[in-house]
Amino acid sequence: MDHREPLLEVADLSVDFRMDRRTLLHAVRHVSFQVHPGETLGIVGESGCGKSVTCMSILRLNPERRTRYPTGRILFEGQDLMQMSPKQLSAIRGSEISMVFQEPMTAMNPLFTIGDQMMEVLHIHNRKMEKSAAYEACLDAIRKVKIPNPERIMKSYPFTLSGGMRQRVMIAMAMVAKPKLLVCDEPTTALDVTIQAQVLDLMNQLKQEAGTAIIFITHDLGVISEMADRVLIMYGGRICEEAAVDELFTRPRHPYTTGLIQSHPGPDYQGKRLRMIPGSVPTLKDMPEGCPFNNRCQYATEACSAAFPEFETVSAGHTVACHHWKTTPKDE
């Protein structure tokens, strides 16, 4: 484990959504993790597992009226973001922590040029900044994401750019104020593979140059294995396994992680049947009691529907929440 002070520490975070008077959905339950300076933390899971909600909670971007945080603290450099006023929080958004979304088009205002929007980010960050200095900083940020002719990009509107280009601009915009933490929610899911490769390559370079810590959310195990240092696997609003990336892919211990890895068609599976996880991903409304995976798990016993398992340490930096992790076959 890393003994440095963590940059971000999420402790026992739970998020509920109030749908109407009677229904309260538990989107995230008792999630704890840390992000250290300069590292990339991957969060992997399928739809409805709570990965996006967790990250939106960091900047409190969940729909204000419907969201409740029954438990949890989110410490960023020692300060609790949960206790901050909206004003304090907006000073941190964009400048200390910024975000890249899956669909950059919806995250940008179509009525303003890229330049206007980037300059605004800087303006919020530092009100005394000279306009010319801000302009230079923006050009610099665009140059860093390897877009030719940055002056032209500054003057263009978001809808005139291609998907890959937009996502790069989005990254430039997120990086312009030199944040310490970048939260990326499925940043390459909407892109084609060759464009995805470009963007991932770029993100890795930027990370090395600027030393920014990244939280990288995706459903794609392939992408995560190339990007992340450490990985969290989430299912049904809970973390079920945490490990360094190579450890996770070579020695997964949670049955869900194993299933997820095996259901990916790799080249060695040619001609055979794929291993699969039976059943369907539960919606928040019909989440089973205890371990949320118990109705799809081949090792499930009564203990699994009785209580959510405690986190146990497999090896240094590798924890798993499963009653039966010792008995599940080791995948080598």
């Binding site: 059943g279 019909d286 089973p288 109705n295 529907s305």
Partner: protein
């Protein structure tokens, strides 16, 4: 075990017909039920008013009792000629609602047919759209005036006129909705399964385009009723002795200070009828959509 239970909950009683489903969902909406009751009363009056009150009463006047306020004898009072307003309002329902509903339904059917042809055949679409462009260039009130002047003012001619005037608008609006539906994957999927064009329209396209169309149609019924009234006022609509609600309202203007009830009752009749139709429209839209079922 748990799986089984969850699964049981999901399984619908698959024996219910589509119609029964729609009725069930409709009955869950109190506002829609109230609207339906009101509308049923109006329709009942339309159909059976002649059994309750003899038809001569509509024009029978009592010159001794002009502009009398509501009383036990004349529930809604009498008008400037001494005619019983209650009787006239009841008989007026036939004319006003008849014109509104009749003209809307006919133009709805014609409009939907035109829109479906447009959606299925690109070349026909091009021609039909140009024709509609030309027709919509003529102000509709002018067109209605000319048509009524040629044909003469009667209830039937009023209906025909209003239909002709509103068909292009209906066709345009339905076409816009239908074109949105026609490009959906499930329409292509039905085609791949060998569904013929006519069946495609009736089974897939129109049912999925119905929500905005129904809302549109209910609004149109009320606006048709008002147009009928307006045309009657100008003098090209339904001829004076006929108790058309809008016409009654317009005559009442002159006596508004002395006899506000002359305007109040036909006005209330128009408002209530329009309201009930709109409530029914909203209720139907929700009931037709299986997704509102929870």
């Amino acid at each position: 075990m748990k799986d089984q239970k969850q699964f049981k909950k999901m399984v619908h009683s698959s024996r219910d017909s589509l119609f029964a489903d729609v009725v069930k969902r409709y009955m869950r909406n109190p506002a829609a039920v109230i609207g339906a009751v009101l509308l049923l009363v109006v329709l009942f009056v339309c159909l059976f008013v002649s059994l309750l009150i003899p038809e001569e009463m509509v024009t029978a006047y009592d010159s001794a009792a002009r502009l009398t306020p509501p009383s036990a004898q004349h529930w809604f009072g009498t008008d400037n000629l001494g005619r019983d307003i209650f009787t006239r309002v009841l008989y007026g329902a036939r004319i006003t609602v008849g014109i509104g509903v009749g003209a809307t339904l006919t133009s709805l059917v014609i409009g939907a047919a035109i829109a479906s042809v447009c959606a299925l055949f690109k070349k026909a679409d091009l021609v039909i759209m140009r024709v509609i462009d030309i027709v919509t260039c003529i102000p509709s009130i002018l067109l209605a005036l000319v048509l009524l002047a040629i044909m003469g003012g009667s209830v039937f001619n009023m209906m025909v006129t209003l239909t002709i005037v509103s068909v292009p608008g209906f066709a345009l609006r339905i076409r816009a909705v239908v074109l949105g539906v026609v490009d959906q994957d499930y329409i292509h999927a039905a085609r791949v399964s060998g569904t013929t064009p006519v069946k495609l329209v009736l089974r897939h396209i129109l049912p999925n385009a119905i929500d905005p169309i129904i809302v549109d149609a209910t609004m149109t019924i009320s606006s048709m009723m008002l147009s009928a009234a307006g045309l009657s006022f100008i003098g090209v609509g339904v001829a004076p002795p006929a108790p058309e609600w809008g016409a009654m309202l317009n005559y009442a203007q002159q006596y508004f200070q002395a006899a506000p009830y002359m305007a109040l009752f036909p006005g209330a009749a128009i408002a209530l009828t329009a309201l009930s139709i709109n409530l029914v429209g909203d209720g139907l839209r929700d009931a037709l959509d299986p997704k509102t079922d929870h």
